[in-house]
């Protein structure tokens, strides 16, 4: 059973490496508060699990070494044991305690990452709409009035709120080093909160399988200082073309495009399905045809705290 010990020590080495420095794993190398919360949660849970594995492995090794037939002697006859209420209660109660502990952590960390990042509670977030269409990402900045395809720039030290939806299959928007993923769907808008602490270029991608071009459906998320960011916005505004309805339709139809920048957004002529809920008539759903697009989303008060404020 040497193998088991090898495995065990492997796990411990891995756990240390995971948390370590040299070439850290992406998920455990957070660059913003929300990703940090998740990374801490994960490392904590790995430690708990290693503890559980340790207990099981020690017991296991003990039984296998001590009670192998070759050691027990020809005429050893194992006893008849029904069980032990005491022991059984112990190994019911201790796991329950562990589960309670993990549950508390889960609820806390989930609510934490589902709201504005810690430390930024009072700041107005930068809102960016991220829409997926086979097999691209469209990013609209309503505040700045610009739009990009397959890359997104954001300022550091400012909360960012991504509002997600999809023109077609369900996709999942994921920038591992900044926040956990969330689905983008066609009928309504979902939301991710994040903030970047450190300037840098981060991998972003669709992580929910959506057909042939899925593997290539990556984008770059670049966090930059406010000054760099402002400069870039200005640059786009002055040099990039406007995005017209027709351009946009063409863009949606094309399977793959490189990076693009525009000095207007599609939000005006092809509004996102905000305030929508499944069940309400479907004007405003991204997939509806031309005339449907022109009507504003239904103005009923939306009951979707997750979607828009």
């Amino acid at each position: 059973m040497k193998k088991k010990w090898l495995l065990l020590s492997a796990i411990f080495t891995i756990a240390t490496v995971l948390a370590g420095c040299e070439n850290p794993l992406m998920v455990l190398d957070p660059k913003g508060p929300n990703a940090k919360t998740l990374s801490d949660t994960i490392i904590m849970s790995i430690i708990v699990m290693c503890g559980i594995l340790f207990v099981v492995y020690v017991l296991y090794a003990y039984m296998l070494i001590k009670y192998r037939a070759s050691r027990m002697g020809e005429d050893y006859e194992p006893p008849h044991e029904h069980g032990s209420t005491k022991l059984e209660i112990i190994w019911t109660v201790i796991p329950i305690i562990i589960v309670v502990f993990l549950s508390v952590i889960t609820v806390q960390s989930t609510s934490k990452v589902e709201s504005k990042p810690v430390g930024y509670e009072n700041e107005e977030p930068l809102v960016i709409y991220a829409a997926s269409s086979n097999w691209k990402w469209h990013f609209s900045y309503p505040e700045e009035g610009i739009e990009t395809v397959n890359y997104v720039n954001l300022p550091v030290d400012r909360p960012v709120e991504f509002r997600l939806y999809s023109y077609g299959p369900i996709t999942s928007f994921w920038i591992p080093q900044l926040a956990g993923q969330k689905y983008a769907m066609s009928a309504h808008v979902t939301k991710i909160h994040m903030a970047a602490d450190v300037p840098g270029s981060y991998m972003g991608r669709n992580s929910n399988f959506n057909g042939q071009g899925y593997a290539q459906m990556e984008f770059e998320a670049q966090a930059m200082t406010q000054a760099d960011y402002d400069e870039w916005v200005n640059d786009v505004k002055t040099t990039a073309p406007k995005l017209t309805d027709a351009d946009y339709d063409k863009l949606l139809e094309t399977d793959f495009v490189g990076r693009k920048s525009y000095s207007s957004t599609h939000l005006e002529f092809n509004p996102p399905p905000e305030g929508q809920h499944h069940g309400t008539p479907n004007e405003g759903t991204p997939n509806t045809e031309e005339d449907g697009d022109k009507t504003a989303p239904s103005s009923e008060p939306h009951t979707h705290p997750n979607h828009t404020e």
């Binding site: 070439n23 017991l59 190994w91 796991p95 589960v99 993990l102 989930t110 609510s111 991608r205 057909g211």
Partner: protein, 648 residues
């Protein structure tokens, strides 16, 4: 990346043409061989029309083994493709088809039938019954399953395989985004096989509840039978959900309904919801029988009764109830609020408690035991530490917030292979080795068995442990390729080597089957392992009526007790035995199902309707049929018993 146009025979893909040719050649040589050796009559009489639970079980296992290889070849291709960055073995479309068929086949056409096969062979024997409650229905179940399997597999060469993942999420699986017939195959073949499974569920529930040998109260049932009882409860209540989900899928794709549509009020998320309402219980359907198998094997080879029998039963009941209230953990990232995610996180993690109880009970069964390391025992022992890794990583996934980072990554892929393979696959292999002599009267070779075991166990960890790390490094699942700069290359290569090792292990396993059939010494006792429960009390191979006289049970581990205390299990004279007649109807009716399913896939309405009517005609014929079975005379029973080496 050209997309496949709708076409009937796939002729522009060398790999598929190759497969097509080899299938045709294989089928032809099988046909010629059977004709040459004049075996058609034998096949028809002894296998196709059989209602004997043991033979039906053997057929299930045979199909499952073939499917293990089909799914395994898919797996090797996937691992081969991702072994290196920017590899060109498969293109995106192929990769997508292959992971879809791999997932579907492994779960529904390999794990499920393997388990149902073992359950067919063993359960009636373990409870001292002559057959299942509804032998004819049992045959229907098998043939529906076989037809479903066949239908799913021909998608590869006729019309195109499904390519939207085994979970077939809408809108990706809708007609708009998956225009080939692949997902029609998915919906219809699973539907047909699922009907068979549902019937099995009912059949075995009644069998276990009503046909136990006198004296065998519920709390004196062997643990495997208990696990089958609970599993079938889950089957009976979970499969209707799949039935509905698949029907809605078929209607959306073929009748233009709007259930999961992106317009007209449809809701794409609802498919995911329904799929997992079934899908989560499904994973427990494949793990609980495994727990049962391990319980039998561990107690047999530790030469000790199972520790904490009662808490084992209670924990399985708890798992079965909990299994229905956790499904949303498969889509924490769908954007519903903290409330929903928290509730489902907690229910999910709770399953760790009863599972832990079982793990510790097994460990304590070993305590003070006398452990002999036979092949089935090796698999059972390897299960404990490896499955625990899978289980605790499951608990990590269950934490909603953390799952935002694991979801759809290789970490998840590693989790479920870590539970499915050491859980289910090791269990069915262990059960296969364990009960093989019961059915065929000789053991598989131990040396080869152990060699295969070490190959499989070590390679398994080499193949799947790296995926945990890749997942944490941001590698998502279902990605046919990745760029060099990601740095995923080396670990994927390692994983590929592991997969090859697994392949070699399985080849040794099959070689062992071949070797043992030819050379293994025959065993006359019917109890080669010195085991504990009733199935070992009768002859091996088992006569078609199972027991000449129905045993009288007074204890848990009745056979063991009888052996140790020299108490006979039966008394009184042999009586004539009532047995059911064979019937070709299940086979023929399933043929009609195949016809209807195949035509429905291609939306050929008229033939579909004709075949459907044919199905109802068979049902009507069955209703009017009068078949009271037949009796085996006392003399005949006595003769058979003598030939098998003395009365049991």
């Amino acid at each position: 990346m050209e997309s496949h146009e709708q076409q009937f025979l796939i002729l522009n893909e060398p790999m598929i043409v190759g497969a097509m040719i080899s299938i045709v050649v294989g089928a032809l040589s099988l046909f010629i061989g059977i004709t040459y050796f004049k075996k058609w009559g034998y096949l028809w009489r002894e296998w196709i029309t059989t209602v004997d639970h043991k033979k039906i079980g053997v057929m299930y296992i045979l199909v499952a083994l073939v499917m293990l290889f089909r799914g395994g070849v898919d797996a090797l291709l996937m691992r081969g493709q991702t072994a290196m960055p920017e590899n060109g073995l498969l293109d995106a479309q192929h990769y997508n088809e292959i992971f879809t068929t791999h997932g579907v086949i492994m779960i529904l056409f390999m794990a499920m039938p393997f388990i149902i096969g073992l359950m067919n062979v063993v359960t009636p024997l373990q409870i001292g019954a002559r057959d299942v409650a509804f032998p004819r229905l049992n045959s229907v179940s098998f043939w529906l399953f076989a037809v479903g399997t066949g239908l799913f597999n021909i998608s590869f060469i006729i019309g195109g395989s499904p390519d939207a993942g085994w979970s077939a999420y809408f809108p990706l699986a809708s007609l708009e985004f998956s225009p080939t017939v692949g997902n029609n195959y998915y919906a219809i073949s699973l539907q047909i096989a699922g009907l068979g499974t549902l019937a099995t569920g009912i059949n075995f529930l009644v069998t276990i509840l009503k046909m136990r040998a006198p004296g065998m109260t519920l709390m004196k049932m062997p643990m495997f039978t208990w696990s089958i009882l609970i599993t079938n409860v889950i089957i009976v209540f979970a499969f209707p959900v799949l039935t509905v989900a698949l029907a809605l899928m078929t209607m959306d794709r073929q009748f233009g309904t709007k259930f999961f549509a992106m317009q007209d009020g449809g809701m794409d998320m609802l498919w995911a919801n329904l799929f997992w309402v079934w899908g989560h219980p499904e994973v427990y359907i494949v793990i609980l029988p495994a727990f049962g198998i391990y319980s039998e094997i561990i107690s047999t080879f530790a030469r000790k009764n199972l520790y904490g029998y009662k808490s084992m039963v209670i924990s399985m009941v708890a798992i079965s109830l909990l299994s229905f209230v956790v499904w949303a953990h498969h889509f924490y990232t769908m954007g519903h609020g903290v409330m929903v995610n928290s509730v489902f996180s907690i229910t999910t993690m709770l399953i760790a408690v009863p599972t832990g109880v079982k793990i510790f009970n097994w460990l304590l069964t070993l305590h003070k035991g006398k452990i002999s390391f036979t092949t089935p025992m090796l698999y059972s022992l390897a299960f404990i530490p490896i499955f625990t890794i899978g289980g605790v990583t499951g608990v990590m996934l269950a934490m909603a917030s953390a799952d935002y980072q694991y979801h759809n990554t290789m970490f998840l892929v590693a989790h479920f292979h870590y539970v499915l393979i050491p859980g289910t696959v090791f269990a069915v292999i262990a059960g296969f080795h364990f009960w093989f002599p019961k059915v065929f009267g000789f053991r598989l070779n131990e040396k080869l068995g152990k060699l295969a075991f070490w190959f499989i166990t070590i390679s398994f960890n080499v193949a799947f442990f790296p995926l945990f790390i890749l997942g944490l490094n941001g590698m998502t699942r279902r990605m046919y390729t990745y760029s060099e700069s990601t740095g995923y290359g080396p670990l994927n290569m390692l994983s590929f080597l592991g997969a090859v090792g697994l392949g070699i292990g399985f080849i040794i396993l099959v070689y062992n089957l071949y070797w043992s059939i030819r050379y293994s010494p025959r065993d006359e006792t019917g109890d080669p392992w010195d085991a504990r429960s009733l199935e070992w009390a009768t002859h091996g191979p088992v006569p078609f009526y199972n027991f000449a006289r129905i045993p009288q049970v007074n204890d848990l581990d009745a056979f063991w007790y009888a052996k140790k205390h020299n108490k006979p299990l039966w008394s009184g004279p042999i009586e004539k035995i009532h047995m059911p007649n064979n019937s070709g109807m299940p086979f023929l009716m399933s043929g009609a199902f195949f016809g209807a399913g195949f035509c429905l896939v291609f939306s050929w309405w008229i033939p579909t309707i004709i075949f459907t009517i044919l199905i109802f005609v068979f049902m009507a014929l069955r209703s009017f049929e009068q078949d009271h079975g037949y009796y085996v005379s006392v003399e005949e029973v006595e003769r058979i018993e003598r030939e098998l080496g003395g009365e049991k």
